[in-house]
């Protein structure tokens, strides 16, 4: 069975409920998900997850700015406090308890977006199983909490898939399962520019891993002669995709088949959106990932692609600033901010900025206390949501008191999150068109939190 027909087969048996015995969740998704898909708005929607690998230090990303709050911050942070005069003050629409806030000096392009109301901030968000009232409850009771707090690989997986390393279902993948029914080419529903992302993992949707330059083809598989053999290319095509009964061989061959399918479709589609398209000027590093995302969005209506709902994953590493934090984080945040601004500009140029929302995520926030020239692992952190459908220029969630021994300090200034990743995801999933009733399919614990819509997205 060809790959395309195997996918079609799986879709049909899924819809008929024949997979009940082996994949109950798949059945639920196929059955109930149709409701989400049917009720979803007709227009295009895309979600882009920008993951800051290694745990971005949120305490130095958004910093208290009024003199009293800043002084408390600086006293706690000591050697890694940012000088107040370098900070970029923001002017949120809402009142943060009379406090003023500012962004890290390297975030100027993001600062502009916030002030233009194209970007919002979600404060102190992190993995939770249930709301935890305060740090004392966390310390003194056995209230449920996520496993393996403070561990990079596990918290990355929990942010993306609500379960530690080894997780098999990411919420981006579940969204893709629910919403892909209207997509012409199922394989482009979930796209990663940054390796195998558990965020996009699911039973039904297999993420397509694209390179920054587009799809890579098997160069010699259509050559007339290979090493002088007229049968060489034909044999090459057979050899790369052959597999016996061995699971691992089949898995590898499966990737090869997807690669061949995708290359044919993507190359032709992207050729119709030239490299030199002035709407997508050539950027650097992280922005190169966002550029191929922008290009794929640019060809969303191409006959080879045909997408209504897409979920993307891009990432940047290096945020584990146990040492040399001041220099390292500035460099990284500068890249994040300029890449996001580039992407938003590209979306505006393509006339699609209301239909595409980028959000940031990271392993966890970091402790407030300095270890000399860096900071250690924490829990809650602050994040950005960017796009023209974002109710920007505002702070959502509860911005914490940045000090030691507060009600959100579980030790050394590690923040107890006051908003769950589930709520963050639910707000985005609703915007993508997931019905309120279907939210638990994407976010199994959402029922534990009363507020499902944090309000940072415009109404559908």
């Amino acid at each position: 069975m060809s790959n395309a027909s195997r996918r079609e087969f799986l879709r049909r048996v899924g819809a008929l409920g024949l997979l009940r015995a082996v994949a109950p969740l798949g059945l639920q998704l196929a059955g109930i998900g149709a409701a989400s898909a049917a009720n979803a708005p007709e227009d295009y929607r895309a979600l882009v997850c920008l993951f800051m690998m290694g745990a971005n230090d949120a305490h130095n990303t958004i910093v208290p700015y009024d003199q009293a709050s800043y002084d408390t911050y600086a006293t706690a942070r000591t050697s890694i406090a940012l000088p107040r005069e370098t900070l970029l003050p923001i002017h949120p629409i809402n009142n943060i308890g009379g406090r003023e806030l500012a962004l890290h000096p390297a975030l100027m392009p993001l600062h502009n977006l916030f002030e233009r109301r194209q970007a919002a901030i979600l404060a102190n968000v992190g993995p939770l199983l249930v709301p935890i009232k305060d740090a004392a409850t966390f310390k003194n009771t056995s209230i449920a909490r996520p496993p393996k707090l403070f561990s990079h690989n596990d918290q990355q997986a929990i942010w993306q898939a609500f379960s530690p390393e080894g997780a098999k279902l990411g919420w981006g993948g579940r969204l893709a399962d629910l919403l892909s029914a209207r997509n012409g080419k199922h394989m482009f529903t979930a796209i990663s520019t940054s390796g195998n992302a558990v965020f996009l993992a699911s039973d039904k949707t297999i993420q397509y891993q694209i390179s920054n330059s587009g799809a890579i083809g098997f160069n010699r598989s259509t050559a007339n002669q290979l090493f002088g053999s007229a049968k060489g290319a034909e044999a090459l095509r057979a050899q790369i995709a052959m597999a016996g009964d061995d699971l691992l061989q089949k898995e590898y061959a499966g990737v090869v088949n997807r690669s061949i399918d995708a290359h044919g479709l993507v190359s032709a589609a992207l050729a119709r959106l030239p490299e030199t398209d002035p709407r997508l000027a050539l950027p650097a590093d992280l922005a190169q990932q966002l550029r191929i995302v922008a290009r794929m969005i640019g060809v969303r209506d191409d006959e080879n692609i045909q997408q209504r709902r897409q979920v993307f994953f891009v990432s940047l590493g290096g945020f584990d600033t146990h040492d040399h934090q001041l220099g390292k984080q500035a460099e990284l945040l500068s890249s994040v901010a300029s890449s996001i601004a580039y992407f938003q500009q590209s979306m505006e140029n393509l006339g699609i900025a209301r239909n595409v929302t980028l959000f940031t995520a990271s392993d966890f926030g970091r402790a407030l206390l300095s270890n000399g020239d860096g900071s250690d692992h924490g829990w809650g952190g602050h994040h950005f949501i960017v796009g023209s459908a974002v109710q920007g220029g505002n702070i959502y969630g509860q911005f914490p008191d940045v000090a030691l021994n507060t009600t959100t300090d579980i030790g050394n200034g590690r923040l107890l999150p006051t908003t769950a990743v589930d709520q963050y995801a639910a707000t985005l999933a609703r915007w993508m068109g997931v019905s309120n009733a279907d939210l638990p399919l994407v976010l199994p614990n959402i029922g534990n939190f009363s507020q499902r819509d944090l309000g940072f997205m415009a109404a559908i």
């Binding site: 090459l236 016996g244 402790a367 250690d376």
Partner: protein, 575 residues
């Protein structure tokens, strides 16, 4: 000052080259030892039966950077246990011998380039006689991970020293390995415990927890308590965590006060690398002034408050505690199996390896030679055809295998191969360039939404396989087979294979393909695949009356067959 430094460097160079030192004697007490610790070991290890040629090839695929035709022949006439013993005795090839002279030539303020490390790696992967040791160093570099990606980007000599340290301890004992990993200044930079200072409440400073966490999670005991066979211990149906954050903050205090090695003990020696020219290759040492004297509790061990802080004693305590944790055997043993033999070992196999870790037969724990024998001589490693056994070959090992199979030579002698990171047009992997301390792939990685996931099988190496990388690799190996690899000088790439062993067989496509099948896969090609390759090769005709053209055609036959094997899942999954 400069004269003193020069004298020191000269004396060091002299000592390093000196062969009259007794084994195991370092140049001075500040250096790493020259050899691994010697352990009591069982006196004799019985010879195993002669392997078939296919088995010999499989053994060499698991234990080296790739079999060479003559090695398969030699091993088929000998036996595996004797081969292992001979490898254990083979003198270590030191990366520092290649890199130290370049380092000493540097002008002040200049740095070496990573390419020097890669060249050294490929040269020794292709040619070093101590193949098992080098292969083990590579495997250990994927467990005790440091990476050029990040703060080590120009620390070429230091990383070479780290590699040599892994290779030295590969045949030694695990406790020394863990100790030397913990003290290596490259690890100290990578996981930031170098210059980590004790807590200071007045300044609001706490110890850096990075190394304390990862040494437990990744290098010794892992997250959950394990049975001897590597399965999870359960309490009320749930896994039992080996440590919590209190253990981490306790252990973090142990890893304070360690900084640059060498004789100097003053505060400036703690803070400034410039004061010790060999800082990057000397083990870190404890500086009591910067080491926490407070109580340290971790994993049930309590170190009482100290009047004078004792960094060296505390480190010994901590390494002993970790080394003696019952998780280490199954945790480390299973990962070593995955790196060399198979992604999904049975619990019984893990148990046999863990038992060898716990006791080498004469009561010694952590004997690496006993662990290696247990991993490689196990029936599960030696069975040639169990379904769903084996592992995906890592990209780096595919290229090294091509080099060794076809007698690749470097025209410059230096193997001018640089960074091979890019998955779109290179290997998608360079040695010692993992993106994070979690390696290129995790031991528990499961490709989502696949039959493997439903069968509860892991496939670590699949984590770096993508729609881009599968095509990128196929194109890369095709151009390598066609035109060689490495920087081109005068229009010709530096590293060229000669195919000399295979050319005489190319008259007969069947014999030629069978020889390549033996060499590259250990006779794992499917019938359909073999038939297809023979057909494609036969389509290259050998002109009868033009000897030069016939030679070229034979070469093409060998190269086409090699390509058609090396891109196939039959080959890519090492069985």
């Amino acid at each position: 000052m400069r004269a003193t430094l020069a004298a020191l460097i000269l004396s060091l160079a002299g000592l390093a080259a000196c062969s009259t030192l007794s084994p195991g004697t370092p140049p001075d007490k500040w250096s790493y030892p020259l050899e691994a610790r010697r352990l009591p070991r069982p006196s004799s290890t019985a010879a195993t039966p002669h392997p078939t040629a296919a088995d010999a090839s499989r053994v060499l695929q698991q234990t080296t950077f790739g079999p060479r035709p003559d090695e398969i022949d030699a091993l088929a006439r000998s036996d595996f246990n004797s081969w292992l013993s001979a490898q254990f005795e083979t003198r270590q090839t030191l990366f520092l011998n290649d890199i130290e002279p370049e380092h000493l030539k540097l002008e002040k303020g200049k740095n070496l380039n990573q390419e020097l490390f890669f060249r050294t790696f490929w040269k020794h992967a292709a040619t070093a006689p101590d193949q098992l040791r080098q292969r083990m160093a590579f495997a250990l570099s994927e467990i005790f991970v440091i990476s050029f990606e990040g703060m080590l980007d120009v620390k070429i000599r230091g990383v070479a020293s780290y590699w040599d340290m892994l290779g030295r301890n590969a045949f030694g004992d695990f406790r020394t390995l863990l100790d030397e990993v913990s003290r290596h200044p490259m690890m100290g930079i990578y996981l930031s415990h170098l210059k980590n200072q004790k807590e200071d409440p007045a300044k609001g400073r706490v110890p850096d927890e990075n190394f304390a966490r990862e040494v437990m999670q990744l290098f010794s005991i892992g997250l959950y308590e394990l049975n001897i066979d590597g399965t999870l211990k359960l309490r009320d149906g749930k896994p039992i965590e080996t440590y919590d954050n209190e253990d981490i903050t306790g252990l973090a205090k142990v890893f304070t006060g360690f900084s640059y090695g060498g004789p100097g003990l003053t505060d400036p020696h703690f803070h400034n690398q410039g004061l010790e020219p060999r800082w990057d290759i000397l083990p870190m040492k404890g500086y009591p002034k910067f080491h926490s004297a407070n109580q340290k509790s971790f994993l049930g061990t309590i170190i009482k408050p100290q009047a004078i802080s004792d960094p060296e004693g505390d480190l010994k305590n901590a390494i002993d505690r970790l080394f003696n944790h019952p998780n280490v055997g199954p945790f480390f043993g299973k990962q070593l199996i995955q790196r060399l033999v198979t992604s999904n070992p049975s619990p019984a196999y893990v148990k046999r390896v863990a038992l060898a870790f716990n006791d080498n037969g004469v009561g010694v724990r952590g004997d690496m030679q006993a662990v290696i024998r247990a991993v490689l001589l196990d029936p599960e490693a030696r069975q040639s055809n169990s379904d769903n056994s084996g592992k995906l070959r890592e990209p780096v090992l595919r290229l090294s295998q091509w080099m060794r199979a076809f007698n690749a030579r470097s025209a410059s002698g230096d193997f001018l191969i640089g960074n091979t990171d890019n998955p779109g047009f290179s290997l998608g992997q360079s040695p010692l360039r993992s993106p994070t301390v979690f390696n290129f792939y995790r031991p528990g990685y499961v490709p989502p939404g696949t039959a493997m996931a439903r069968a509860n099988q892991v496939a670590p190496e699949m984590q770096i396989v993508s729609e881009s990388s599968v095509a990128g690799y196929a194109n890369f190996i095709q151009t390598t087979i066609e035109a060689g690899v490495g920087r081109a000088e005068g229009g010709k790439r530096d590293v060229q294979a000669d195919y000399s062993t295979q050319l005489p067989l190319a008259d007969s496509p069947e014999i030629s393909v069978d020889a390549l099948d033996l060499l590259l896969t250990g006779k794992r090609l499917s019938v359909a695949s073999r038939t297809r390759i023979v057909d494609a090769v036969t389509a290259i005709s050998l002109p009868a009356n033009k000897p030069a053209n016939a030679e070229a055609a034979k070469r093409n036959r060998v190269r086409l067959a090699a390509l058609l094997i090396m891109v196939s899942p039959d080959y890519l999954v090492q069985k």
